[in-house]
């Protein structure tokens, strides 16, 4: 009850005209950088850092937080419309969101993404308000061996849950992991595969690869289209129908929970939450074959999960003062500029700030929903542009997007190169999504395993004699073994089916 009161107080604080204005500016800007491929919340916040010295602290922080979750709303827009993820966390939305757009159902896809984001954000927010300190303490139990075991479990789960051509998906995941090994060795600091190019020292960036693999390759694939042809002129429905809602309700609920839990573990990428949600929905669905062909559950689940995960991702920073990624580090820096170093006592010492920020998230999520629904009509018009206008624009935004990541021309080269690679991959029916997953999980798994082995002086027992790590290893093994145990039952099911028909 006390927590609810404090949250209500926070909402009231955030509703002051000044805070409301900054909040709106934040979510609007967030939506914009979310829509634009490449430029993400980190870039936008970095640009706004000089303002920190002039703006009032609470209003300023409300704006910065607004940018971060606003971007999760905007990220899905280009994924659905033109198959370019606005943010890496919307990669998986391309699969079914874009397929829906091609069937003239861009409206419901955009609509369910907005509603899902809203619901996921609100559920995660309540979790954040009630559970932040406890979850932060729990997160500390995760040392390198626990991360390694969790990644192992995660990879096994995804592979086990995935349908379709397993060999090609696995191959792509491995290629992704291999690409991720370019750059400075995360443990010893030695350069790997950099060929003395300075730009490669930091590795191959996730964002340029994603823009190339999805956006540029999409344009290349469509080059044989006739001049004057439009992408989609028949548009069926602007908002999700009753049937759409029925199919999306459970994925949204599961996505909220899954996103919240994955986001709360420090260092896990939001991207992982979206892949986990997609895999889970595909496994639970009665029609897994429809995934990739425009199943609305494949949009609803991941789009909910990414907003929930980005919300619970604040737990380590707000309750312990430990930034876990580039965006949280920037927010940490912004708080420092105001002389408000977050730490274990932050919630106690700056309750007005903490609850004010949480309150602003309630209002901000509501504003985003109101902002995004009318925009759907506008976005859909983009699809009526003839190819010869739309495609040069996509290429233009892809290149600008690649450049804005860090201001290096090398990233633009990566965008173009991966556009060509993506074209080849799709011509030969290799999915780009598993490659992205490999790129994300590969380095996490590698550093976790190597750090664990440093801690144990080379003994692999470290993964078995720590309870949390052992649990995840056991779960992974169980999952690997389960097809063997289930075979007889599955076999009978098939026989039954054959007899029926």
């Amino acid at each position: 009850m006390d927590t609810l009161n404090l949250l209500l107080q926070g909402v009231l604080t955030a509703a002051s005209p000044e805070n409301l204005f900054y909040g709106f500016a934040g979510v609007l800007l967030g939506t914009l950088v979310g829509v634009l491929p490449g430029l993400g919340p980190a870039g936008a916040i970095a640009l706004l850092l000089p303002l920190a010295l002039h703006a009032p602290p609470l209003a300023y922080m409300i704006m910065l937080f607004g940018i971060t979750y606003g971007a999760q709303y905007g990220g899905s827009t280009t994924s659905i419309l033109v198959n370019i993820p606005g943010e890496a966390s919307s990669v998986i939305t391309c699969l079914d969101g874009y397929a829906m757009a091609r069937q003239g159902r861009a409206g419901p896809a955009l609509g369910i993404a907005a509603f899902g984001s809203f619901i996921g954000g609100m559920i995660a927010l309540v979790g954040l308000a009630f559970l932040a300190p406890a979850l932060a303490e729990f997160g500390l139990h995760f040392g390198p061996p626990e991360y390694a075991a969790l990644m192992l479990f995660g990879l096994t789960a995804l592979v086990y849950l995935a349908h379709g051509p397993m060999d090609k998906a696995l191959l792509m995941a491995l290629v992704g992991a291999l690409l991720a090994s370019v750059g400075l060795d995360p443990v010893s600091g030695a350069p790997r595969f950099t060929f003395n190019f300075l730009v490669l020292r930091d590795g191959i960036g996730l964002t340029p690869v994603v823009i190339g693999l999805f956006g540029v390759s999409e344009v290349l694939l469509n080059l044989d289209a006739k001049a004057g042809e439009v992408f989609q002129d028949k548009v069926r429905g602007l908002l999700p129908s009753a049937q759409d809602w029925k199919e999306s309700a459970a994925p949204i609920a599961r996505g909220s929970l899954l996103g919240f839990l994955i986001g709360a573990i420090p260092g896990l990428n939001v991207v992982i939450a979206t892949f986990a949600s997609y895999a889970l929905e595909k496994k639970l669905s009665k029609h897994p074959e429809r995934f990739g062909q425009g199943a609305i559950a494949g949009v609803a689940g991941p789009e909910t999960a990414n907003n929930a995960a980005s919300c619970s991702g604040w737990i380590p920073l707000l309750s312990l003062g430990l930034p876990t990624g580039s965006v949280t580090s920037l927010i940490f820096g912004a708080l420092m500029m105001h002389g408000l170093a977050p730490g274990p006592l932050f919630i106690q010492n700056s309750p007005q700030l903490f609850w004010g920020i949480l309150g602003s998230m309630v209002l901000g999520n509501a504003m985003l929903l109101i902002l995004n629904l009318p925009l759907i009509g506008l976005w859909i018009k983009v699809l009526r542009l003839p190819y010869f206008y739309l495609f040069p624009l996509i290429i233009l935004f892809s290149i600008i997007g690649g450049y804005t990541v860090s201001g290096n021309i090398g990233d633009v080269v990566i965008v173009i190169l991966f556009g060509l690679i993506g074209y080849g991959m799709r011509k030969f029916a290799y999915e780009p999504a598993p490659l992205v997953l490999g790129l994300v999980i590969g380095p996490l798994l590698e550093t976790a395993i190597r750090r664990s082995l440093i801690m144990s002086h080379g003994s692999a027992m470290i993964f078995l004699n720590r309870p949390i790590a052992a649990l995840f290893v056991a779960l992974a093994l169980l999952m690997l073994a389960s097809p063997l145990l289930l075979r007889r039952r599955l076999g009978r099911e098939i026989v039954d089916k054959l007899e029926e028909s």
Binding site: L49, V187, G189, L198, G321, L330, G333, M337, G407, M455
Partner: protein
Amino acid sequence: MSIKAFTIALALLVSAAPLAAQPYPNKPIELVVTSNPGGGVDLLFRLLAEEMSKTLKTQVNVANQAAASGAIGAEKVAAAKKDGYTVLGSLLGQIATMNVANPKGPAHLQHHFQPVAALYGYAAVILLSRADSEFKSVKDIVALAQKKPGEIIAGVGPTGTSLTLEIELLKRAAKINLTSLPLAGSAQTIANLLGGHVQLAMASDVAALPHIKSGKLRGVAVDVTSVSLPEVPTFAKQGYPQVNLLAHLVFLAPKGTPASVVKTLADSIKKSLQEPKLQENLKSRGYNVDPRTATADLDKLVQDEFYKYNRFGADELGWKAQ
């Protein structure tokens, strides 16, 4: 807009044109900072740039170029026009390690840059233990490490930074064996110490402060007396003066920048740092304010930096060749 207002606006525009011939500075200055936005180094440069904008009466804009450990930003400034409108803000050690490991590599401190000013020992690095542990001083650590070599695990920073190298210096000075676990930076080393996955952690004093205040962690030693934690004794006081890589921030202009321009910049930095409000601001955020602007001082600082890092191999500095 009335005709009068329009004329005034036009007149202002026209009168702005001859500004180009006016003395330095007459347009915005770009300060290329080779660290990520939001971090400790970036924050100090931003606060200082804000004050310099007032003393120079022109905007000083921070542009972050942290890619390739700062090498790309350093190259950019080294190749920029020698007019004082593009300057580099960097950790001196960041460029020095790169030069020591690869003297022929890009952007060399002595060949390509003219030092403008330095902030001597701007922040402290702290060695932490858990408040409930037996490690109260460096002596305790050395004693246990002698008994059980390699068993104590210390969470350190990325390769080539003081967070890693100072533990190497302690190992050498005390002739002990600790296991260094390379992590991504202060936030990760502290999280792993709080979770009990490591027994010691290296971190910046500012990052460690709230956890020491909350009673969970203990400051064992610092490399230089910390502004925010003055009670923590230095390594030197505990018998290991070698464990000190005192980090300096520097302003560098491309070599060949006119002396008058360098002086204007240096004076502005000095004057800005004397501003009581900025001094207060920096101190409250844990920064040590000790500017050096005399040319002789700066040359010696750079010399010392080369000497300092020559003790390490290129791989330890994070610039191992392939």
